[in-house]
């Protein structure tokens, strides 16, 4: 009863945000620059949330998210540009292709833990990038022309579905199994949780939404190049998740919104932007290694705020 009430509040809020922005865009109150920033923000949130499932919930440290983004971007671009499929079909196929890539990466990587897994996923992402670099069909290093199809409506629907699926997954039995894997893999295994299955599942779902984000990303620009999907892009996404708090979905979203705004204003000074990013990363890790919000969600803060007399430790 309570969960469904929460859902309806979320849904109404989401539709209100959508309608307000759509009204402002069609009414001409938002110019191209701002609506593009909003779309870009939506794509980044999708990426952050999908990586949050892999790192924050399942505890699998992946440094190769840009690889799945690249798969989604290229597959969707091939679908719309070469095969003339409609955009929504291209988005779906991009997601499925990225999920398959996630399975391919996830299954062999299962024998690895911690920083070995990070390095292996980094290697996989680099291999994906080099493959696209060497295929002439998608333009090699020069890149591939893509028409501009991403609109606020598409972005919003995809974002809504992403958050909905990942929140529900996290709160389900499967999500709790993933959290158990994060907390202690060996203990979870001993308790009868099929750790392999859940790690691969989280990887595949995360990759699916990264692929969907890739489709939107590709069709938001006029050209995609392998250079856009390098190691630095993976780090960008990682920073959103880490800054918000490893394990906090709302934290990831808030951090993404803040950092997208900051980087939009620093667009002309890429070095300054990266210096600020790296300093923020180092300082947060040194003084608050669990991220700004830790494992707390926004709703947890609301509960604490509404019942200030009872401390949060009594709620457990």
């Amino acid at each position: 009863m309570k969960k469904s009430k929460q859902f309806w509040v979320f849904a109404v809020l989401a539709i209100a945000i959508y309608a307000a922005v759509q009204f402002m865009i069609s009414g001409g109150f938002l110019n191209n620059f701002y609506s593009n920033t909003l779309i870009f923000m939506g794509i980044n949130i999708m990426l952050a949330v999908s990586l949050h499932l892999v790192i924050g919930i399942t505890g699998q440290f992946s440094l190769g998210h840009a690889g799945f983004l690249a798969v989604g971007a290229y597959v969707s671009a091939i679908m719309t540009m070469k095969l003339d499929l409609p955009f929504f079909a291209a988005i779906l196929i991009a997601g499925i292709a990225a999920a398959l890539a996630g399975l391919v990466v996830g299954i062999p990587s299962l024998r690895l833990r911690g920083d070995y897994l990070a390095i292996a996923t980094l290697g996989f992402a680099e291999i994906i990038r080099i493959i696209f670099l060497n295929i002439d069909y998608v333009g090699g290093a020069a890149g591939m022309q893509v028409t501009h199809l991403t609109t606020w409506t598409y972005t919003f629907i995809c974002l809504f579905v992403t958050i909905l699926v990942i929140v529900n997954f996290t709160n389900s039995r499967h999500g709790r199994a993933c959290i158990a894997v994060r907390e202690n893999e060996i203990a979870a295994d001993a308790m009868g949780i099929n750790t392999t299955y859940y790690k691969v599942l989280a990887f595949a779902i995360g990759s699916f939404f990264a692929g969907v984000a890739g489709a939107l990303y590709a069709h938001n620009f006029y050209i995609i190049q392998p250079a856009n999907f390098g190691f630095l892009k993976s780090i960008d996404i990682l920073i959103y998740v880490v800054l918000g708090g490893l394990g906090s979905l709302s934290g990831a979203i808030v951090a993404t919104i803040l950092l997208t705004i900051v980087s939009t204003f620093l667009q002309d000074f890429p070095e300054t932007r990266m210096i600020i990013y790296s300093l923020v990363l180092i300082i947060v890790m040194l003084y608050r290694p669990q991220g700004l919000m830790g494992k707390m969600e926004f709703t947890d803060y609301l509960k604490m705020w509404m019942r200030p007399k009872r401390g949060s430790q009594h709620e457990q």
Binding site: G114, D115, I119, I127, I235, T272, I275, M285, P289
Partner: protein, 291 residues
């Protein structure tokens, strides 16, 4: 004698990787941290060599020594500021900090000097010898001899000196080493100093070999050196050397066969294969994880 030529090229390249990989493997062996900033120390080493040769007119060997000294200091500073607080933090937090330090150094250098590449000066007349039909340049001989000498010195330090003994003790069990009266902090700093000095030397050699350096040059060689360290068994010093040489030869062979665009992918494919089939590396022993 084409293959001999390729083998020599591969070994020259591999010895650069080996020098960087030694730093990775030592740091990993002692504090279980993948020091992502190591590739950036390598880059700084190359730039110090460049400045001291072109700007201050030093010869090759003084430039090499200066670069090693400054890199050692930088390595220790990085360790003291960024990693020391995280000794007992989670591995992920330490890894993310290392990535942050690496980005900071890269972009700091770009901020202060710009991203444009610099042409490394020629310090040696480029003569080449004919050995069984293969051309060996003086540079290749220089690279090899400098690497071999540095590795021998490292071997001596680790196995014959007091600090080497302390390093081996700390990497075996830091807590027990502390109880036995070893100053763990100083030992870790010494490890960083030695590893970074080797990376600095590798940077100068790299500059002479490739004649071009830029602020982002540390990323790919850094990752490849890490692959070399994993290949040989991370934490094992002879393993890093063997891994570096194997990687250099494989890369050169891949290029020679006409797949030069796939050269970078080769290193990562090797990495993934080794991680899947023998995660402990060529020289490593399998260890069971205890609960």
């Amino acid at each position: 004698m084409e293959w001999l030529q390729q083998l020599i090229n591969g070994i020259s390249l591999g010895s650069i990787y080996a020098l960087i990989a030694l730093g990775y493997t030592m740091v990993y062996g002692i504090i279980k941290l993948i020091n992502f900033a190591h590739g950036e120390v390598f880059m700084i080493g190359a730039f110090i060599g460049y400045i001291s040769i072109t700007g201050w007119g030093l010869g090759f060997f003084p430039a090499l020594l200066l670069s090693m000294a400054i890199c050692a200091i930088i390595g220790v500073i990085i360790e003291r500021i960024a990693y020391k607080r995280l000794r007992n933090a989670t591995r992920i937090a330490a890894l993310i900090t290392a990535i942050g330090v690496s980005l900071l150094i890269q972009n700091g250098v770009i901020y202060f000097r710009g991203a444009q590449p610099a042409a490394y000066p020629d310090v040696f007349a480029n003569k080449s010898f004919n050995l069984f039909g293969a051309q060996i340049s003086t540079q290749a001989i220089l690279i090899l001899s400098v690497s071999v000498v540095l590795m021998l010195i490292l071997q001596f330090i680790v196995h014959k000196t007091k600090i080497g003994k302390a390093m081996r003790a700390v990497s075996y069990d830091a807590e027990a080493a502390k109880l036995m009266g070893i100053n763990v902090d100083n030992t870790i700093s010494a490890t960083f100093a030695i590893g970074s000095a080797l990376a600095g030397a590798a940077g100068v050699i790299f500059g002479i070999y490739y004649t071009k350096i830029d602020p982002l040059m540390g990323v790919i060689p850094g990752l490849k050196a890490f692959v070399a360290a994993v290949l040989g068994g991370i934490g094992i010093i002879p393993g890093a050397v063997a891994g570096g040489l194997v990687l250099g030869v494989v890369e050169t062979v891949v290029s020679a066969l006409g797949f030069s665009l796939w050269r970078d992918a080769a290193a990562f494919i090797i990495l993934i294969l080794i991680l899947i089939f023998k995660p402990s590396g060529i020289f490593g022993k399998n260890t069971r994880e205890k609960v």
